[in-house]
Symmetry: C2
Subunit: 299 residues, 2 copies
């Protein structure tokens, strides 16, 4: 197997993690937490979502969070934006990068965005154009790449079509999402073999969920074909919050443990990450489910 | 990456899982559980341990369990034996295979077996000789291959020395143990590259613990270099029983999910495995921590 010498970990906990929380974490605490993450060596943090607060009340303070955090040199601060209106607010809060999102499967796209895939493109195109014009970069997310909760199997050509459209619009990077955590390493390599024929490895990131325990193996399969950017959520925040141990997002600290052990550089300080994890655990009022936090708690 | 077409899963839950339980599972329930496992398509089950009950009271009924279970054709029933005395009782109970064990690190061996590594060899040699004479095969376990809780790093040459001694005695297969779950995939391949120069792949099995979340990635790294036998414990039984979600043994059902998805044959029926998991969860009075059982419970 081949491994890159350096990997970029993109921390999505403040957005993909917190958006699943029923409890509202105080704006001041979100800001403190993101500031801790900023000083942990992470180079990229997705801090919030400018989706209508009606849909994600947990992140209703997107503007205040984006406005209130310390901006540490060398860290890119990004936020999810669903449309032009969201982008306007995100730009007012001076985010560095906008993240747009859609699904590779029609039904999931409709359920999530309330539009068909074809209807979604012009909306995202406006966002990408406006963001680029404002001097910001744009990241794309494509969901349900390895399977859809409504449709089952997803054709890799459907993923390629979405990827081509988004890159054509001007996104800098595409994050390939295993939204419901069912991918396996062979499937990951099969999909990446197709994508890597059309897009360079340094424009692709992988976004794994550990729902069925395959996330770390899927990371390994991705590293082996040249992928060096991974989304992760500190402590595995973002799973099913009412089942201790239930796994959602790949945990940043578990990913870091494996990469460090393999001699792959990330720039992230494990102790600072643990300290940030303990802070948000206290605010959430429950332990986070990642393996390495459990080990750190002495079990 | 290369993957074998078929993998043998060796179920160690009744021994490596139950031995960590404070509560004594009734002999009748152990027998019922093992019988369910026998009908799930698993071809190998480690059913108990003939260690002195003073050390593992949870398995004090080793003889009754080994004697009481149904023997399904095509399934190998094995038990851990520490010495000649343990073997005698195991043979009386008509086990198919004896499993002997020792550590690659001196301190762990002393703490676990109360002997130095050199003092351990003659004890195991007696067991292997007697077992072979009785027409039984013998499996070896080598622990702390990827790191020792007392000594830290373990030299691969220490592992090779133990492996050579055990194969020379006449064991059929050696199970390579990441006892405290700290291996990473690069380390796994490095160790296996050395071992595979001296021993054929079909004489080696991997025994991973998921303590730090790397077990499935370590399986993938092992498959890639030709290993096709893995120990696992249903539901991840054998972790820290008082922290829900804390992971110990690699979970059979998680391993099965990944292998099935990759098109690798195991012969194991997932539904029958889930049904056996629900049975033992009920007897334990708590849910098991594996990812796929959590998904099956609807989280």
């Amino acid at each position: 197997m081949k491994f890159p010498g350096t990997v970029t970990i993109k921390e999505v906990g403040p957005r993909d993690g917190l958006q699943n929380e029923k409890a509202f974490i105080d704006t001041e605490d979100k800001i403190k937490w993101i500031n801790q993450l900023s000083h942990s060596g992470l180079k990229y943090i997705e801090i919030t979502s400018f989706v209508n607060p009606k849909w994600i009340p947990a992140l209703a303070d997107a503007f205040e969070v984006a406005n209130g955090i310390e901006r540490v040199a060398g860290v890119t601060y990004t936020a999810l934006v669903p449309n032009r209106k969201g982008l306007e607010r995100a730009l007012e809060a001076n985010i560095d990068e906008a993240a747009v999102f859609m699904s590779a499967s029609e039904t999931h796209n409709r359920k999530n965005i309330n539009k068909s895939i074809d209807e979604t493109y012009p909306v995202l195109r406006e966002v990408v154009e406006d963001a680029l014009e404002a001097g910001k970069s744009v990241r794309g997310y494509v969901s349900t790449v390895f399977g859809c909760p409504y449709e089952g199997a997803v054709e890799v050509e459907a993923v390629v079509r979405v990827a081509e459209k988004l890159f054509e619009m001007g996104i800098g990077e595409l994050s390939i999402g295993d939204t419901i955590g069912l991918a396996n390493p062979k499937q990951v390599q099969n999909v990446l073999h197709v994508l890597l024929k059309r897009f360079p490895a340094d424009r692709l990131a992988m976004h794994f969920h550990d729902t069925r325990g395959t996330a770390m193996a899927n990371v390994l399969a991705s590293l082996d074909v040249g992928i060096a950017t991974f989304d992760a959520s500190l402590g595995g925040l973002g799973g099913c919050p009412y089942a201790p141990g239930a796994s959602g997002n790949l945990a940043t600290d578990d990913l870091l443990y494996m990469l460090e052990g393999m001699g792959i550089q990330t720039g992230v300080d494990r102790e600072k990450l643990f300290s940030a994890a303990r802070f948000i655990e206290e605010k959430l009022g429950r332990p986070l489910p990642s393996h390495n936090l459990q080990v750190a708690r002495g079990c």
